[in-house]
Amino acid sequence: MLELILLICVIGAGTWGELCVSRAMKALGEVHDFRPAALVQFAWRAARVGWMWVGISLMTVAFFSLLALLSMENVSFVVPVTALSYAAGAIGAALFLREKVTKQRWLGVLVVCLGVTLVWLSRH
């Protein structure tokens, strides 16, 4: 039961954290200059976007939940089952970021979920 709760935290907080970070990065625009000084300046601009901090906070929750889960289960089980976040991610991308998720992408996400189910069944 505890493992399931931790998995929900990893998927839920992780996906929403990534969506918030993605929204912040979209607001900042595309990176063209990869020199260290320019990247530091970019990081400074990113730190002033609110969505970035919401995203980082959620991703921190997901990270510590992942650590707790890794202390209980094998990494070859834990990491593949977190692929369930693809379904949550695709839904969030369509609703929250207003991305056009094509039928082919939905199909891919569905196949990924099928794979996760098989990995889950291999648990015992």
């Binding site: 990534e18 969506l19 970070v21 993605s22 990065m25 979209k26 607001a27 900042l28 625009g29 595309e30 990176v31 990113a46 990270f63 992942l66 650590l67 707790a68 890794l70 202390s71 209980m72 094998n74 990494v75 070859s76 089980f77 834990v78 990491v79 593949p80 692929a83 976040s85 693809y86 991610g89 695709a90 991308a93 369509a94 970021l97 207003r98 991305e99 056009k100 998720v101 094509t102 082919q104 992408r105 199909l107 891919g108 996400v109 569905l110 196949v111 990924v112 979920c113 099928l114 794979g115 996760v116 189910t117 098989l118 990995v119 889950w120 069944l121 291999s122």
Partner: protein, 138 residues
């Protein structure tokens, strides 16, 4: 830029970084956490003990370093490619993490689990065949 080969090349180079750093980071974290063990109860003292052990583990710090490298690459690629493209495409790391778990940690990976991972990779290939960007630049 929307359909340029440069955009695709740049995207796939960053996806390669993402696919390598994330699994390596997770395997190092797993190695570290297996050494630390899970908290025996939810008492603050027990949790504090676990957190202290976590902070003292070299494997966990190396793992965090790899995940930070992954995170930087991930954030950069999100500035030009769609989230719904990047996230599933990075799922190649699921196959790599199982291989690393087998080779470096000696985990037993059953045929059913390999099948599941293979199906996940198939899903990744389907998603990767779509264009990285579906929204216009702001």
């Amino acid at each position: 830029m929307k359909n340029s080969p440069g955009l695709h090349l740049k995207t796939y180079i960053f996806l390669l970084f993402i696919a390598l750093f994330a699994p390596l980071g997770n395997v190092l974290l797993s190695k570290g956490m297996k050494g630390v063990g899970s908290a025996k109860n939810w008492q603050p003292q027990a949790l504090l003990h676990v957190v202290t052990q976590v902070l003292r583990s070299g494997y966990i710090w190396f793992g965090i370093g790899c995940l930070l490298a992954f995170f930087v690459a991930y954030m950069l690629v999100l500035t030009w490619a769609d989230y719904s493209f990047v996230q599933p495409a990075s799922a190649f790391s699921y196959a790599i993490v199982a291989i690393l778990g087998l080779l470096l940690l000696g985990e037993k990976v059953s045929p059913l689990r390999w099948s599941g991972i293979a199906v996940i990779c198939l899903g990744v290939l389907i998603v990767s065949d779509t264009h990285p960007r579906t929204t216009e630049k702001e």
